[in-house]
């Protein structure tokens, strides 16, 4: 394992940024491990969530933003509910993911792709069009056959629309996206 | 903390014997330099500070009044500082009616071990008063 030179590699700006954007204080964490103990995704994470918290306290920006864990977190709120220090851990995970996306660290391409596809659909129609998301996702991910086994079940049961519903207010939704995008680029 | 000009303003402080007076002593023992404008009156408890003292101080020429007691819950007399807080908060709201900027009056908590905090309190408060300049009360105004 690599030796970390804490003096040099301690990124205090990163800690401040995460604290500010999440509204949570990472130093409140005393490493009890309750979040990791409860997190249903621990077995799939590369770093369990308590270690993400520890890496954050140690200012290890690169390691965190490259981790898979921050993408695999499903915001199930178990950690937040059980943290004895009342840290909204899920909020911190969310913030880390937002920062990772912003700074182009994407260690779980499929998840990002799925989210992107979802929002694309939302932007385009005002509501999401589930079949469209699935098809678009399959096309873009190159995994054409994801869940094809489920297709007939869903279609036969008439549960999914074949055509998107577009709401009247679609432009209004699109304008939310646009204004927020402008705000970001305006800031930079 | 040398003053820019030697012109001092008149600041009086009421400090409780157990905490803040001790805190000011601690600052002294640790040689934490402070502006020289402040004069200190020792009282047993911040709860002993009658709002009247503050008003009289202003009317007879003070430019700033500081009250400092024990931290809430640390009061030597169990809840004297709560009384103080309630009363002094009320006073602060009334001061503008006497034509006195309420920033000229400040109350705070400093414990006997907080020499550094005392230094900060004095320095900052003095700065505020210098920012406001000498107090001029309209002539003829009297307090009922």
């Amino acid at each position: 394992m690599k030796v970390i030179n804490i003096t040099k590699e301690f990124d205090s700006k990163f800690i401040e940024q995460v604290a500010k954007e999440s509204g949570e204080n990472p130093y409140l964490c005393y490493q009890c491990g309750n979040c990791t103990a409860g997190c249903p995704f621990t077995e799939f994470f590369d770093y369990p969530v308590s270690q993400i918290m520890r890496l954050l306290q140690q200012g290890q920006k690169e390691t965190i933003l490259r981790s898979k864990a921050i993408w695999l977190c499903a915001t199930c709120e178990t950690c937040t509910t059980r943290c004895p220090c009342q840290i909204d851990v899920a909020q911190i995970m969310d913030t880390l993911r937002v920062i990772a996306r912003r700074e182009n660290y994407v260690s779980e391409k499929e998840i990002k792709l799925f989210f992107d596809t979802f929002l694309e659909s939302l932007k385009k129609h005002g509501r999401v069009f589930e079949l469209g998301i699935l098809l678009a996702y399959n096309l873009k991910s190159g995994k054409i056959f994801t869940d094809v086994d489920l297709g007939p079940k869903v279609l036969l049961k008439g549960k999914i629309h074949l055509l998107p519903t577009k709401i009247k207010g679609q432009e209004k939704v699109e304008s939310i996206f646009r204004k927020l995008a402008e705000r970001v680029s305006g800031n930079e | 903390m040398p003053q820019e000009s030697k012109k001092e303003l008149r600041i009086i402080g009421f400090l409780c014997n157990w905490c803040s007076y001790g805190g000011a002593d601690t600052a002294g023992v640790s040689r934490f330099k402070q502006p020289t404008d402040l004069r200190i009156v020792r009282v047993p408890c911040s709860g002993r500070v009658d709002p009247l003292f503050v008003v009289r101080a202003f009317l007879s020429g003070a430019d700033g009044v500081l009250v400092s007691g024990c931290h809430p819950r640390d009061c030597h007399y169990s809840d004297g500082n709560y009384y103080a807080r309630r009363r002094l908060e009320m006073l602060k709201r009334l001061l503008p009616f006497f034509g006195i900027d309420d920033r000229r009056f400040h109350y705070t908590w400093v414990s006997a071990s907080e020499g550094e905090r005392w230094q900060r309190v004095v320095t900052e408060f003095t700065k505020v008063i210098h920012g406001l300049g000498p107090l001029k009360i309209e002539e003829g105004e009297e307090i009922g």
Binding site: C32, G33 | K33, P44, C45
Partner: protein, 654 residues
């Protein structure tokens, strides 16, 4: 008026940055100042003599010493002026060292500041009045509240020192938490074997008057002279007749009463003696479960009792005792198991608390000392201990550490292995806190010799699978999730204050912290005193602590009381409030604000009601003085006039 002013150089400490000569000169200009001088070291013996001489020579009647902080030398100089036959309250100090010479470098400004401050002291001293302390008698009896190990120790030590002791215990027997324990760390000696003899000593000591199943109703008075009202709660059994034979308990048909002594681990009878070694060993009826009280019929116990001790009509009784000091040793409570829903507390029978496990381990407990789990009575093979349940957990409002659970977990894990050699224990912990003598060695032994598996991490959830409980936690050292299949789970539940702690504190006028634990005078230097003189603390009522610490405090509190009672009279501090009955309008605002209950209503001969300060209770805070709308109540030595004199002197320096 002839004031003398003495400005101290303190070597170079003051004279270095204050022009002391100039200050002395300025003082001479004040009308009423008869003498003003400087000296190198005023507190030294020649310095003090200088003052004494000057008082005589210049007929001074007031003295101001401008030197260091009064917190340092006020007493020194008070004694000095007293030697010159001046009342000690005719001395004032001006602090020109800590507040001036040490915190400012500019000599000119410092000197000006010193002149102002000394002038303020002169103004004040001119308004000073002579004050005299009065002496009063005291009752040399002590009240001990709480009969746990701390209270028993205090009671026994006081009795040994020749004092009469009144011991009031809320529950039917003394012994407290320690009486429930099986063995004690770090020596693993039997708890009741070392406590039992002490309990008997308490019962047999002629100087100790025990009120069991009693509570403090009211406390009046002040140090040296308290009048305490004690409520003897109805037991429905005449304890003068009851012999503790236990026949009633055997025959009582109401078998599902809650067992407070065993923390509900098994039921008891509506009439019961809490445990075999109970002191006093007397029966008591719990009317919440007794059929006679609930349904109006039964009466079995009354029929069976050989001494006819049962009395269904018994009422609470109030008795009064006079004492001169009070030791509070009311101990602690424990957070209920239902506070841990993620662990299935209250839902899964085999999730229990540490104290319940003590009862299971205990030979006189409900299982006769055989480890059987509550659900099906089977011997557990795997026992999981979880530390810090509720403690150090801000989300439930308890940020503090419960102090002794790390240790009793290690003890219980060792005892589990002793009882069931084939069993395996696990401990989920965050830190192991074992700072006492022999303590760390003890927790190491649990791991090294007894093979207890310590896992560093918290437990997040417990759920059943078949007969097992799955304990899901984290091993943070490995960074993984772990599961243990347990038969029994023991929670080290948080130590909390007694539910009635605040109520008792208010009766005694002592302070308590946010968590309901009593506050000592000084955490290091006066650990068993309170801010109310005459009231002392011992044991876990001040905060979680183990037996050695509780016993030390019991002895310490006793020694404080003995020291207090070594005097025949007490002297009061005259810096107290005084009501001028001619000015007082009887609004009683002061009565309501005084935090010490030192003011009472008094009827004058002309029928007018006015306030009156009980000098011995008044602590001298002056809150009443700033409350009184008429200026009728004045804190001596800090009167409105005295403080305003300083304010005006300050203003005249403009």
């Amino acid at each position: 008026m002839r004031v003398g002013v003495f400005i101290c150089h303190c070597g170079n400490n003051i004279a270095g940055t204050v022009d002391v000569q100039k200050v002395a000169e300025e003082m001479r200009k004040i009308p009423g100042v008869a003498y003003s001088t400087t000296y190198v070291y005023t507190c030294s013996e020649p310095g003090q003599n200088e003052i004494i001489e000057a008082i005589k020579k210049y007929k001074l009647d007031r003295v101001v010493v401008a030197a260091c902080s009064p917190r340092m030398h006020e007493l020194t100089f008070r004694k000095a002026v007293e030697k010159a036959s001046l009342n000690r309250y005719f001395l004032e100090m001006a602090n020109i060292r800590e507040h001036i010479s040490w915190v400012g470098d500019d000599k000119e400004l410092n000197t000006q500041k010193a002149i102002d401050v000394v002038r303020m002291a002169v103004a004040k001293v001119m308004n000073n009045k002579p004050l005299f302390s009065s002496s009063f008698k005291l009752t040399k009896r002590v009240l001990v509240i709480g009969g746990g190990v701390a209270g028993m120790q205090a009671a026994l030590d006081c009795a040994d020192g020749g004092l009469d002791v009144v011991l009031v215990e809320k529950s039917p027997s003394i012994g407290g938490m320690m009486a429930r324990l099986d063995k004690t760390f770090p020596t693993i000696d039997c708890s009741i074997c070392i406590l039992g003899p002490k309990m008997v000593d308490v019962a047999q000591n002629e100087r100790i008057k025990l009120y069991a199943y009693s509570e403090i109703e009211d406390v009046k008075g002040y140090i040296g002279n308290y009048e305490v009202t004690i409520r003897k709660k109805a037991t429905y059994v005449d304890w003068n007749k009851c012999t503790g034979c236990g026949l009633c308990m055997e025959k009582c048909p109401s078998k599902n009463a809650y067992d407070y002594f065993n923390f509900g681990i098994a039921p008891t009878r509506a009439i019961n003696i809490p445990f075999p070694q109970a002191i006093p060993k007397k029966a008591k009826i719990d009317p919440n479960y007794c059929r006679y009280f609930l349904k109006g019929k039964c009466g079995v116990c009354a029929k069976i009792c050989p001494t006819k001790a049962i009395d269904y009509d018994m009422k609470d009784e109030l008795v009064k005792e006079d004492v001169g000091a009070i030791i509070v040793a009311t101990g602690y409570s424990l957070m209920g198991v239902e506070n841990f829903p993620e662990y299935g507390g209250g839902k899964y029978k085999d999730v229990i608390t540490g104290i319940q496990y003590e009862r299971i381990l205990n030979a006189s407990g409900p299982t006769g000392g055989h480890i059987k789990r509550p659900s099906d009575g089977k011997e557990p093979e795997t026992v999981v201990f979880i530390s810090c349940c509720g403690s150090r957990d801000k989300s439930v409002g308890i940020p503090y550490c419960s102090n002794f659970c790390c240790m009793y977990i290690a003890k219980q894990a060792i005892l589990t292995k002793d009882h069931l050699p084939k069993s395996q224990s696990y401990v989920f912990y965050m830190d192991i806190r074992a700072p006492g003598k022999g303590y760390d060695e003890f927790t190491r032994r649990a791991q090294e010799e007894y093979g207890v598996r310590y896992i560093r991490g918290r437990v997040s959830k417990i759920y059943p699978r078949g007969e097992k409980l799955i304990v899901r936690g984290a091993d943070t050292l490995l960074g993984i999730q772990v599961e243990v299949e347990a038969d029994l789970v023991v929670l080290a539940n948080a130590v909390i204050s007694n539910p009635d702690a605040a109520k008792l504190a208010e009766k005694l006028r002592i302070s308590y912290d946010t968590f309901g634990f009593y506050v000592e005078s000084h955490p290091k230097l006066r650990p068993v005193e309170t801010n109310t003189s005459g009231v002392f603390l011992a044991g876990a009522c001040q905060g979680p602590k183990d037996i050695p610490a509780s016993v030390s405090q019991g002895s310490a509190a006793a020694s404080k009381v003995l020291a207090l009672f070594s005097k025949d009279v007490l002297e009061s501090d005259p810096q107290v409030s005084y009501v001028n009955p001619n000015v007082c309008v009887g609004c009683m605002k002061c009565v309501k604000t005084c935090p010490f209950g030192a003011i009472k209503e008094e009827e004058l001969r002309d029928g007018r009601k006015v306030a009156k300060v009980i000098e011995t209770v008044c602590a001298g805070c002056g809150i009443c003085t700033s409350t009184c709308p008429c200026g009728a109540i004045q804190l001596q030595h800090f009167t409105d006039n005295q403080i305003l004199a300083e304010v005006y002197a300050f203003a005249s320096g403009k």
